[in-house]
Amino acid sequence: MDWRVRRIGQALFTVWGVITISFLLVRLMPGNPMSAMIVELEEQGISPTQARYLVELRLNIDPEEPIPIAYVNYVGSMIQGDLGHSMYYDRPVVEVLATALPWTLFVLSWAAFISFFLGITLGALMAYWEGGRLDLGLTGYATVMGSVPFYVLAILLLVFLGYRYGIFPTGGRQPTGVEPGFNWTYIRGVIHHAALPVISMLVVSGAASLSMRGNSIRVLGEDYLRVARLRGLPDSTIAIQYVARNAILPMYTGLMISIGSMFGGSIILEEVFAYRGVGYYMMSAVNQRDYPLMLGAFTIITIAVVIALLIADLTYSKIDPRAGGGKSEGL
């Protein structure tokens, strides 16, 4: 079978797995949210039929239905994009998250882009001046940064750049009192609000630069590099087409995987900076025990990550001619 088809199938399988896990958690676990919800509603004096209707609306699970049928219906509504109804916000989960998702993606893509770019450039420079002052300094820096959790950094940034010196706003995702739209004040405000979360995520570039450094040093010792130099190729070609390209290849999937972990990290960051993205809503759902919203956010994040990884794998064969998918595993 074509490995691409297999890979897409695997992605779908993951999404299905996550949906199933959330169904099991909600419906089957002892003391599960569904029963808790029914009890709570009935305590509030709502009639059992009404309670049953409300539960079905919020969780997409009809408590009366036998489990297999409930499961099929649950998966069915998930596929149709119905993630249930948020109790706390009293709105469909999809609606709540749809407004939040772009903001999260905005911060994430900036953070990812900048950290990869920085990591790769710095790593390449470190390799070029291997053993030099920049190399030693940055290696040390990267090691130290590796031991600082990014949310600690976030809190410190918030304390100093936000509260102490007031350089950046301490919360929110857009400027107050400015008409949202395509005008400079607004855009500047948005960037201003995103700055601290983005900076906090850049810690990852430390790790990226270290692996880029290692890879580049390896490539610098390859035969083809020596031949390229002897052939008199210009330094820029050698640096970009020979060293950089071959050094980035092994990192490529790693970088994409780190998008997954950055997504996870964004939950904590959005909470710290009160930045209303998907993670922020997920946390507020956790605190309010708003299960539909929590599971919805979890599902959305999973799907986003699965798509990112899918893109990573599918595009990898485009940039590395040797990657023929399953071919390497053929014999």
């Binding site: 949210p33 040093i217 995987i257 939950i267």
Partner: protein, 362 residues
């Protein structure tokens, strides 16, 4: 040496012992071929223990000790372990109104780290937080490494349908973002026991390791040295233990260090967010309380935030330093050099090369 033993049919070699386990003392000179040589000295249990001690204790430790990073790393971790085991008996747990509120660190020796809003002693707090955190790290780290290694090795070595099943499970866990899953599970299960917390936090962390190990085992399975072992009819489990695992060890050790570091990061992070239920005192809870009380903007309360942060950073620095140097223990080149007593100047290029592709955060 031309005098051959005549036709051989599988058991032509001399049996050295005849049932009672006593090796016959052959006089070294008169055997026909070097193949028949046996020793005239019996190996004692003590010899065996001494060999084990040399291979598994003495050599690794003296190799580690050659590296300054390892010395610092070991010292830091030993300090934390000491604090977590012995320290808790030396320092009384603190209570509210132990001292007055917001005493600054090093202001008085009664409260070297200062106090919080309720007047709790932060020094005692820090000491008593260490134990549950260490337990979480150890259990989570072991869980990650064990599950990852077992899945990866079996999938890679067995191949076929076993591989397909194990790899599919692994792939699902690789694709699921770890932290959100952990949050959902934490909310649902509300784990309180530190061991459970540790395992819960690493519920998806083993997958990356499993995949990496699988592909390495897959390569090794095709290499000549495992084929030679198979030809000698060495059992699969022994091949895995003796030939494959030692080569994976550097990788496993680095992952263990990374995994434990990630455990402490996410554990503290989740306590800080209030996702995990509070049980014993720990740094994450301190951080939560401090943040909740607005220590990040309140004057004079910053140390409340800083002290748990420093505690976290301290132990992860220790883990990183140790991880960077631990793989040297397994590197045959280092071992050989070490045995020859040659001084070695250069750092650990190999370590960094091995780190490639293992940039997982949280």
């Amino acid at each position: 040496m031309k005098d051959s033993r005549g036709p051989t049919d599988g058991d032509g070699q001399p049996k050295a012992a005849d049932g009672d386990g006593q090796p016959k003392a052959a006089d070294g000179g008169s055997v026909n071929s070097p193949f028949e040589t046996i020793s005239d000295i019996e190996e004692t249990r003590r010899d065996r223990y001494r060999k084990r001690y040399e291979n598994y204790v003495y050599a690794p430790f003296s190799i580690i000790w050659d590296d300054w990073r390892a010395r610092i790393g070991l010292a830091i971790i030993a300090l934390y372990v000491f604090v977590g085991t012995v320290g808790v008996f030396l320092v009384e747990p603190t209570t509210n109104l132990d001292g007055s509120a917001f005493i600054q660190p090093f202001e008085t020796w009664e409260h070297p780290f200062g106090t919080d809003r309720m007047g709790r002693d932060l020094f005692a707090d820090t000491i008593h937080s260490t134990r549950p955190i260490l337990i979480m790290m150890a259990s989570g780290g072991l869980f990650t490494v064990t599950v990852g290694t077992v899945f990866g090795t079996i999938a890679g070595y067995k191949g076929g349908i076993t591989d397909t099943v194990l790899s599919s499970i692994t792939d699902v866990f690789i694709n699921i973002p770890g932290l959100p899953l952990v949050i959902v599970l934490a909310v649902m299960f509300e784990p309180r026991n530190p061991v459970l917390v540790g395992i819960l936090l690493s519920i998806a962390a083993w997958a990356g390791l499993a995949r990496a190990i699988r592909s390495q085992v897959l390569t090794m399975r095709r290499e000549s040295f495992t084929e030679a072992a198979r030809a000698m009819d060495v059992s699969t489990s022994r091949i895995i233990r003796k030939d494959i695992l030692p080569r994976l060890m550097p990788y496993i050790v680095i992952n263990m260090m990374n995994a434990t570091r990630n455990i402490i990061f996410s554990a503290v992070g989740l306590y800080f967010l209030g996702v995990l239920p509070f049980e014993d005192q720990n740094w994450g809870i301190t951080l939560y309380l401090a943040y909740d009380a607005g220590a990040h903007y309140r004057p004079g309360a910053l140390h409340w935030l800083l002290i748990p942060m420093i505690a976290i950073i301290g132990i992860s620095v220790g883990l990183i330093l140790l991880g960077q140097s631990l793989d040297r223990v397994f590197n045959p080149r280092v071992r050989a050099r070490h045995r020859n007593g040659e001084a070695e100047a250069e750092g650990s290029e190999d370590v960094e090369a091995d780190n490639t592709g293992m940039m997982k955060q949280v």
